[in-house]
Every structure is written in structure tokens, then in C-alpha cells.
């Protein structure tokens, strides 16, 4: 079973990521398993999902906006955002939007070209799970989450930007 980083620990991946679109037959065949569907399939099969045994998450391409699934966030146990290449930064914006604007509180997973040197920024944008690219060392990657002790901006963990905290401390 694949391993990933979740909430700063290395865990077995309990989910199957379906990179290609699936129809209802294909979904039936996956009954009993936890699956992450492409957003297009998730939207298409939305009505049929309650019948699925196992959890159903959704993953978004870099060009797909969280807005499209906003009405149903309550029912989604996991959202994955894809980095087709690590230099494509669109998913950082989607992550912040999901966490800060839309209040999504469950697992937010980075998938694709996920490299240890980007983990710190990803986690500040709200990702709490990282399905790292296969060649990455997970123990080393966890350490990267502590590259900085503090930051100027707000984040999911510290909702106040530094300037609001600093003025109290420094008088």
C-alpha cells in the first residue's frame, strides 16, 4: 500500500486515486473501496454516490475551481488538488480558497508532482496531506514542514497575519 504524509505522520494510503474519468458501472465495480474521483465524474455521479460503499473523495485539476463543488463540501470527506508539475502554482490558490473562503475542514491532499521543498508553503495554504512523488523521502519531507518558525502571512494554523500579532508583542 502506498504511503503518504498526513497531519505530519507517515500513514498508509487508504484511498484509491482514479486519474481517469469513471462512469457508474466502473464505480459499481469499485464498491467497498475508498475512491477519489475526478471532479467531472464526481459531478456526474453525484446522485449515485450515497449508494457507494466506502468513502468517495474528489480531485481537481489545476484548471478546475473549487467553486464548482462548493454547494456539497459538507459531504466530501477528502479533496485532492493536483500539481501536474511543481512549478504550476494554481492549486495553492484553490487550497486557500477552500480553507479560508469556503471553510472546508476535512482532508486536503496534494497530489502529483509533490516535492519536499514545497511542503512548507503547501501546508500554509491549507494542505494537510501530501501524496509525495514516488522518489521523495517521506521522513525528510516531514522535516521540511518546519523550515520556518513563523511567517508574515496568515495561514490555516495561525489565522492572524504577523502584523496583528506583532503589534501586541512589540508594543
Amino acid at each position: 500500500m502506498a504511503r503518504l504524509i498526513k497531519d505530519r505522520t507517515i500513514v498508509d494510503d487508504q484511498w484509491e486515486l482514479l486519474r481517469e474519468p469513471v462512469d457508474s458501472d466502473a464505480l459499481r465495480a469499485l464498491n467497498g473501496r475508498n475512491v477519489i474521483l475526478p471532479m467531472s465524474s464526481w459531478l456526474e455521479l453525484r446522485e449515485a454516490l450515497p449508494a457507494h460503499q466506502g468513502f468517495v473523495g474528489v480531485w481537481l485539476k489545476n484548471i478546475e475551481l473549487p467553486e464548482a463543488i462548493a454547494p456539497w463540501l459538507e459531504q466530501i470527506p477528502l479533496i485532492a488538488l493536483d500539481f501536474p508539475v511543481f512549478t504550476d502554482g494554481r492549486a495553492y490558490s484553490s487550497a486557500r480558497e477552500l480553507r479560508q473562503n469556503l471553510g472546508y475542514g476535512r482532508e486536503l491532499r496534494a497530489i502529483g508532482d509533490v516535492l519536499c521543498d514545497q511542503l512548507f508553503y503547501m501546508s500554509r495554504c491549507g494542505f494537510n496531506a501530501f501524496a509525495m512523488r514516488a522518489d521523495q523521502n517521506l521522513e525528510a519531507a516531514i522535516r521540511r514542514l518546519d523550515d520556518f518558525k513563523d511567517a508574515y502571512q496568515a495561514s490555516v494554523h495561525s489565522p492572524e497575519p504577523l502584523f496583528r500579532r506583532r503589534s501586541c508583542v512589540n508594543g
Partner: protein, 552 residues
């Protein structure tokens, strides 16, 4: 100027440790070059023609004498004894070894400097008017705002992998000296009818391959909302900016393709979601930042100084320099002095370590220990008592830093070009020199008057050639270095992009070309008109005719 507290110091220390680890992994072969690339770029490290190049941030151009001495130290120990000031108020070193860079960064951290986000597809160093806080015609000191933007943009987790680089300029004076309109975001500090402070916001400006003047997307943004609004613009850009083509990836293309109104609506929509949230600036934070830029301990002095008057009447060379390089100050008895780093035969913006130390001492002695770097690649001592001007000038003269050509034809803005840059089509430094040699006569230069010449070695436009009154662009013509000339550009209040005159010229022809252009100007000039105004009045034809003969 801004001083670091424990938070700033800690972040910088963490950053250096991070980059030290990344560099070590790269040198051990554990980090692929393509994966190291954006990491090193965001720490200012390019790999150039001859060696790596390190670009160090000088936030909004403010530099202390201590910092300048540190730069001199770095020039001596890690480079070849000189540095190069850029058009973005930064400094570049052309010869450091990659393995030394973490140590250089540690040295910089000691004096609260760094190379963070000086390159790469992220938010770059924010720039502003080099006279901020001292100018006679200021609306509001832009530096507290620049510092607020610096902190917001530094290590911004959402915007480290934008489609392309992103540059913000802030202007708080009446005469824009920051080329604000050709930045991705241009912020003009304004007051509304009620006297409240805010920003007029421009977006989508930029030079490079497709030069564009920024368009207004908000006439008045109350200052409290500055950061949430910037977040909103950047988010729209991060999402929708083109990533399929590097040359279409700047925000200017997005704004153009989306249309300004639609773009504006998208920003407003994002902004509504962020507005009044934790990013809303507080009076306390504004005051905290403002306090760093308090006036220095000015003396009470009269504008009239008998010493100065005497020197001006007896020393013609000093008077010429005074006339050209000294500007009005908001405080009586004080002046703003620009040291033109444009002596003939020296690459524009270059400065030796010896000169750096010398200038640092002068700053301590005459200008409260502070300096500014200008986007025209010069240095400014912003708070000099008028009675000290003559002594200062004599000191500058001893180090060849007294070029009296600020704003004149030989105050050329020039990129490193083919001598250093791997992207160049042509050399640019020798072109600058050939022009300076031809127009060596100071009397004549002064008669010609205010005229900006900008040279870039390729269409990336690092030398801002589009906004030069005379712009010179290196092009490749069947493997030979040629130069395309444009006229009428300006980065001032009436920002304009230059018009190309016609077919390009060989390197050796450029001084003659300049001579002909100046000839036409002198022939048509009315009164004390500036070159750019004559051009605007008479148009391209007379210049074209002088260069290429009559069209028939």
C-alpha cells in the same frame, strides 16, 4: 529606515538554513537541476554566461552605510571587487561561486539584507521613488507602504509559483520617478475628497517583449484594504494567467486578453471574499511602519548658505554639478544629491568596493548614514545640508563619483547585455560607452538638456528601452549584433512607449545615429524644450528623414 525585530531575523535565519540545505542537496546530486532552479532563483541566484549571478534585494532602494560596507566586503571576498546596481533598485554580483552563496546570504543577514524573491516567478522587490520622504513635492511618504508590501509579499505561500514574475511599484510624489505605470501593479498614493489616504491602483503594466502601460482598476482604494486587494489581484492572476507560453505569461497579457472591465470584476469578486478579514490593515501597523521612516534629526538651517553661494560663484565645475545633480528638499537648508554612476568608460550602475566604502563614509558624514538606489542605476544622498554640498562634491571628485550628468544624455540606463547575459542578442555596455565618448562635452550636454537614453541587449528590456526618450535595443541580424532605435518613450507622469524609427543599425553607427537625432532636435527645438517634447510636437518624420534620407 526599517529595522528588523526578532521575527524578521528569525525568518531570515530559517531561510538561509533552508537554502543551505537545498544547495548542499543540489551539489550532492540529490536535487535535480530543474528542481533546484526555482529555489535558487527565489534566492537571487541566476546562472549566467560566465558565472552565476547573485541579485541582492535593496527593498525600495533604501540602503544604510553599514549595508553598503557589507556589500563592499562581499564584492571583495566573493566577487571581483565591484557590484552592479540594476534598474530595479537591486545590486548584482556577477562572479560568486554557487557553493559560497549560503555564506554570502549569512553575511547579508547580519545587516538585515537578503536575496529573497529577487528572481523567479514570484512577487519581486517593491520599488518606489528614490526621493521618498525627502522630496519637496510629496503627497505621502511611500516607504511605510513599501515595507508593508514587502512583508506581505515575502514568503507569500500562495504566490511563489506564479505564471511569471510580478513587480509592484509605489509612487507617493507628484512627479513619478518610479516608472510606476510600467509595473504589473502600480500604486499611486492619493487622497480622496474627504482627505482620506488611499491608492489609485493600476494593473497590467510591464515592459519586456510586449510593453504595456498599466490600466486603472480602482480609482480609490482605502489604505486599510491594500493587502486584501493585492491578494485578490494576485489570486486572479495566479489562477488565470497563461502558463502555456512564457512570453504571454505576464499579467499584462491576462488583462489584455480578459479585457480591463472583466478583469476588474474578477478582482472585485475575489476581494469581496477577503475584504474586512484579518488582512485588513490596522492603524497600529501603519503607525508602527511609519515610525521607522521618521525624519532624521535635521538642523534648523536657512536655505541660503554663504559658503555655498561663494563656492557656486567661484567654482564652475561645482556649479555645473550643483545645477544638474542636486534637487529640492522638503526641509529648508537641505538638498537631495544624486551620485551619477555613469562616468564614461564604466558600465552604467557599476561601483567598486572602494567606492562603496567611500560613499558609505560620505553618507555617515553628510546624510544621516542612509542612501538610496535609483532605478536609473544611480545613488542618492537624500538629506545633505546645503552648506556641506561643496565639501561633499570635492570628496566625490576624488573618487570620480562627481559626474555632472544626472538626467542628461550620458546618464544612460543600460542592462549587462552580451558581456554578461546569456539571453543577450547584442552587447549593450560598449554602446553606452561609445555614446558617452561622442557626447563628452559637458557644455553641450547641458545645452541638449534632459534626455533619457535606455539600452537593452535583447527584448527582455532590462534596460527599459521602451521608455527611454531614445531607446536602443540589441537585435540579432543574421548572427550580427544590430541595434534598433526608438524615440519618444518616457516613464514619467505622461508615460509613453517609444516608436521604432526603422531598420536597425550596426554597432559602429550608433554614435552617428545619436548625432543625427540630436541634430534634428536642435534644429526644431523651441526655447528650452526637452527632447521628448520636441518629438511629441514634430513627430517621427524629420528624425526618420535624417537617418534614412527622404522617403519618396
Amino acid at each position: 529606515m526599517y529595522r528588523y525585530d526578532n521575527y524578521d531575523h528569525q525568518m531570515l535565519a530559517d531561510r538561509i538554513a533552508q537554502f543551505r540545505d537545498q544547495t548542499a542537496r543540489f551539489l550532492r546530486g540529490e536535487l535535480a537541476p530543474a528542481e533546484f532552479l526555482p529555489l535558487r532563483l527565489q534566492n537571487g541566484l541566476y546562472v549566467q554566461r560566465l558565472a552565476p549571478m547573485l541579485r541582492i534585494a535593496i527593498p525600495y532602494g533604501m540602503l544604510s552605510s553599514t549595508q553598503l560596507r557589507k556589500l563592499a566586503y562581499i564584492a571583495d571576498h566573493y566577487d571581483k571587487g565591484y557590484g552592479h546596481f540594476t534598474t530595479r533598485q537591486n545590486i548584482q554580483f556577477n562572479w560568486p561561486a554557487i557553493a559560497d552563496v549560503p555564506d554570502i546570504l549569512a553575511h547579508l543577514a547580519e545587516v538585515e539584507m537578503h536575496a529573497i524573491q529577487t528572481s523567479g516567478n514570484c512577487i519581486r522587490n517593491t520599488t518606489t521613488d528614490q526621493f521618498a520622504g525627502a522630496a519637496a513635492n510629496e503627497i505621502e511618504d511611500s516607504r511605510p507602504w513599501c515595507e508593508i508590501i514587502r512583508q506581505w509579499s515575502t514568503f507569500h505561500p500562495e504566490f511563489a509559483f506564479l505564471p511569471r514574475k510580478f513587480k509592484i511599484a509605489v509612487c507617493g510624489t507628484q512627479d513619478d520617478q518610479a516608472a510606476t505605470q510600467v509595473h504589473d501593479i502600480g500604486l499611486f498614493i492619493v487622497r480622496n475628497a474627504q482627505g482620506e489616504l488611499g491608492f489609485r491602483v493600476l494593473a497590467g503594466g510591464g515592459l519586456g517583449r510586449t510593453p504595456v502601460i498599466g490600466k486603472e482598476i480602482r480609482a480609490f482604494l482605502p489604505w486599510q484594504h491594500l493587502l486584501s486587494y493585492l491578494d485578490a489581484i494576485l489570486r486572479v492572476y495566479n489562477r488565470e494567467g497563461r502558463r502555456d507560453n512564457k512570453y504571454k505569461a505576464r499579467i499584462k497579457i491576462l488583462v489584455k486578453e480578459t479585457g480591463i472591465e472583466k478583469f476588474q470584476q474578477k478582482v472585485e469578486k475575489e476581494w469581496l471574499a477577503l475584504k474586512d478579514g484579518p488582512l485588513t490593515l490596522t492603524e497600529a501597523e501603519f503607525q508602527r511602519c511609519k515610525a521607522f521612516f521618521k525624519d532624521p534629526a535635521y538642523l534648523t538651517l536657512a536655505d541660503f548658505s554663504p559658503e555655498l553661494e561663494h563656492a557656486l560663484n567661484t567654482d564652475v565645475l561645482f556649479a555645473a554639478w550643483h545645477n544638474q545633480n542636486v534637487n529640492a528638499h522638503k526641509k529648508s537648508g537641505y538638498s537631495i544629491v544624486t551620485l551619477c554612476l555613469k562616468a564614461t568608460g564604466i558600465a552604467p550602475g557599476d561601483i567598486t568596493s572602494e567606492q562603496m566604502r567611500f560613499v558609505a563614509d560620505l553618507a555617515d558624514r553628510y546624510s544621516f548614514g542612509e542612501l538610496r538606489v535609483t532605478h536609473e542605476q544611480n545613488l542618492v544622498l537624500a538629506d545633505v545640508a546645503r552648506k556641506d554640498l561643496h565639501a561633499l562634491w570635492k570628496a566625490l571628485k576624488s573618487q570620480d563619483l562627481h559626474a555632472p550628468n544626472l538626467g542628461l544624455l550620458t546618464d544612460i540606463v543600460c542592462c549587462p547585455g552580451g558581456d554578461f547575459c546569456s539571453l543577450a542578442n547584442a552587447k549593450s555596455i560598449p554602446i553606452a560607452e561609445s555614446i558617452q565618448r561622442r557626447f563628452g562635452d559637458t557644455e553641450r550636454l547641458r545645452r541638449i538638456g534632459k534626455l533619457s537614453v535606455n539600452i537593452s541587449g535583447c527584448m527582455n528590456a532590462c534596460g527599459h528601452h521602451h521608455v527611454g526618450n531614445i531607446g536602443i535595443l540589441g537585435v540579432d541580424k543574421k548572427g550580427e549584433e544590430y541595434y534598433q532605435v526608438s524615440l519618444g518613450g518616457s516613464a514619467e507622469n505622461v508615460t509613453a512607449l517609444g516608436d521604432i524609427v526603422g531598420p536597425s543599425f550596426a554597432q559602429d553607427d550608433i554614435p552617428d545615429v545619436m548625432e543625427k537625432l540630436i541634430g534634428v532636435f536642435e534644429q526644431h527645438r523651441e526655447n528650452e524644450e526637452r527632447f521628448v517634447d520636441t518629438y511629441r510636437r514634430i513627430g517621427m518624420e524629420p528624425f526618420k528623414e535624417a537617418l534614412y534620407g527622404k522617403a519618396d
